[in-house]
């Protein structure tokens, strides 16, 4: 039996993370202010916030550049992931053939890939970063979609056969709707990965102006408060992607239990 949800649980649910966040920030501030930790490397939250106010426009424009790279990578990577999963689920040979490649992609560090992609696609365009984000997004979308496409219940398959439904009808009526929650899970995982990958790729060359480049430039000139402000922007960007995909997922699947 499920435990009856106590009234007020909803409030606790929202409050708890806020309290935890506030406590951590408070401790941080306390340690830096009172604890004698040098605030040269780890600026106090208040200092970071002050910088945020100062450089907000630059954070926005940098966030837009990185965000666009991540978005393009996410969209294209997810699309390719879904198509590849469709191919793999319907043709076993393809499945077996791409399995090792996907496994390798899943363990390859971006650091290794970024310089190579920059040379392949040109350091003067954002494409290398978009490709990195796309590769990062591809893997979880592919894996989850493939799993989802295999979730079709035998009873539904039998039913469709009994209806003498064609393969595209089966795909539309049963296979895709069944896979949908899995696809969305994959996209949700991919969303944060795409952002962080697009950002890290900026460390390895290409046009300037994105969040990753600004974090490294700021850190290199010891402007740590500024660096942390850009890190904050990166977190917000990642969170925005995550929440956006979550919202789309909720919207698309609102009729599921």
């Amino acid at each position: 039996m499920t435990v009856a949800r106590r009234p007020g649980a909803g409030a606790a649910r929202v409050l708890a993370p806020i309290v935890v966040g506030a406590v951590v920030l408070g401790l941080w501030q306390l340690v830096v202010t009172v604890g004698g930790v040098d605030d040269y490397l780890l600026p106090r939250p208040a200092a970071i916030l002050a910088v945020v106010a100062e450089i907000a426009p630059s954070m926005l424009s940098a966030g837009a550049i990185t965000g666009l790279n991540a978005l393009l990578g996410l969209v294209v990577g997810a699309a390719i992931g879904i198509l590849a999963a469709l191919a793999a689920s319907s043709i076993r040979v393809i499945d077996n053939m791409i399995a090792p490649i996907v496994t390798a992609l899943a363990v390859i560090p971006i650091v290794a890939l970024a310089p190579v992609l920059n040379t392949m696609f040109g350091a003067d365009s954002q494409f290398g970063r978009q490709a990195v984000a796309g590769l990062a997004a591809f893997v979880p979308v592919f894996i989850n979609t493939l799993r989802g496409l295999r979730q079709t219940l035998p009873v539904h398959r039998d039913l469709m056969r009994a209806y003498a439904a064609g393969s595209s009808q089966v795909m539309r009526a049963v296979t895709l709707p069944t896979a949908a929650p899995f696809v969305f899970t994959g996209i949700r995982i991919a969303s944060s990965l795409a952002v962080i990958s697009a950002l890290v790729a900026e460390y390895f060359g290409g046009p300037r102006g994105g969040l990753g480049g600004l974090i490294s430039t700021s850190a290199a000139s010891s402007a740590y408060a500024r660096a942390w402000a850009y890190v904050l922007a990166a977190i917000v960007l990642g969170l925005a992607f995550y929440l956006a995909t979550l919202a789309i997922e909720r919207l698309a699947l609102r009729r599921r239990s």
Binding site: D38, Y40, L41, S58, A114, P115, N118, T119, G122, A123, D124, S125, E202, Y203, F204, G205, G206, P207, R208, G213, L214, S216, T217, A219, A220, S221, S222, A223, Y224
Partner: protein, 361 residues
């Protein structure tokens, strides 16, 4: 890393049989010929002669040497002056105690047929830089030559010259001792032969009015002000370093060998080129190696105050404190060495000829 908050022994001279004073030195990048003098001093026992036990710490992508120093992680650090000026303004309390490189080693390289022959030609072009503060010289030179920086697109180069070779950038940043050499280690796909200097136009920042001081040795300003042991250690350290660089000047092949053994991943021909080119940036040093030329210093400070990058940021907004540099310790070291008969100016320095192989191997 070993920190020597409380140096155990005044490492004065090499006479006492006492324990060696532990010292840590933060390099600016991976071990390579650029730092040949330090590795030579280590390998040839110069540090030990001065009563020091030195740990040389390489850095990588994100380690900022002056920060490691400012945080007390290390005792000395190698870093470029303009980068450190920014850190000093951000609160790093450190002092330039020896300006090892007397000249800037930065070039901007373009194709011979590109029409880019001077800074003025940057307008409307795509210009490469490594970022991490290496772009300041470009902005300074552009300002000096009246180039509208907003028409120039700055691209971050990664660790090699591929972006330039592939045509993504019109002019690439290159250090004389490293990236420039990489060009001559690369075959021209059209001819199959290695590229030659004729294939490129080279802009030397020393001739643009935008050059800034590069590799310098930095020490903790607070400790050097009133910690006598640290002061003594500093002089001893500088003496050993100078001996190392003198060794590298006189024995480039051996010095190159030493850096290779110290973990440089370059091929032998590239490494030798690097040592040789680094020597050119140091020698001759008419005032003695490491002496900070006040005029050069002031010029670098002036450029740092004036230069604005594409986001409107400046390196510094006010004059650095007087503690930012001091010739006191290097002078002591030079004096002692001169007494010992060491040639610390390298008047008669002649670079060698180095032939590069494909891939630098």
């Amino acid at each position: 890393s070993s920190t020597s908050e409380e140096p155990t022994d005044s490492g004065d001279g090499g006479d006492g049989g006492g324990a060696l004073t532990p010292v840590s030195l933060q390099l600016q990048w991976l071990p390579q010929g650029q730092f040949a003098g330090y590795f030579a001093a280590q390998e040839q026992g110069f540090f030990e002669e001065e009563g020091l036990e030195v740990e040389i710490i390489p850095s990588g992508g994100d380690i900022v040497p002056q920060d490691a120093l400012a945080n007390g992680d290390v005792d000395y650090a190698i870093a470029w002056v303009p980068k450190v000026l920014g850190s000093i303004e951000a609160g790093a309390d450190i002092t330039n105690i020896a300006q090892i490189f007397q000249r800037s080693g930065t070039l901007q390289v373009a194709w011979a047929d590109s029409g880019i022959e001077s800074i003025k030609d940057f307008e409307g072009k795509t210009i490469g830089s490594w970022g991490f503060g290496n772009e300041w010289e470009i902005f300074a030179a552009m300002a000096e030559n009246g180039v509208d920086a907003s028409t120039v697109e700055i691209i971050t180069q990664d660790f090699n010259m591929n972006a330039f070779l592939s045509g993504d950038i019109d002019a690439a940043q290159a250090m004389t001792y490293n990236e420039y050499a990489q060009l001559f280690e690369t075959p021209n796909p059209e001819t199959g032969e290695l590229y030659t200097p004729d294939d490129f136009n080279v802009i030397d920042y020393n001739e643009t009015g935008g050059s800034m001081l590069q590799d310098a040795i930095w020490a903790d300003a607070e400790r050097i002000a009133d910690d006598e042991e640290y002061q003594q250690t500093t002089v001893a350290f500088l003496k050993a370093v100078i001996k190392g660089w003198v060794y590298a000047r006189d024995n480039p092949e051996e010095a190159s060998e030493i850096t290779l053994n110290a973990g440089s991943g370059w091929g032998p021909s590239h490494e030798l080129w690097m040592v040789n080119e680094t020597n050119k940036l140091i020698w001759p040093s008419p005032n003695g190696i490491g002496i900070i030329d006040e005029e050069e210093w002031n010029s670098t400070v002036a450029l740092s105050l004036a230069t604005v990058n594409e986001t409107g940021a400046q390196i510094i907004t006010e004059e650095p404190p007087a503690t930012a540099w001091s010739n006191e310790w290097i002078q002591q070291a030079l004096d002692q060495l001169t007494e010992e008969g060491v040639d610390v100016t390298g008047e008669g320095f002649e670079p060698i000829e180095v032939e590069l192989n494909e891939g630098g191997n």
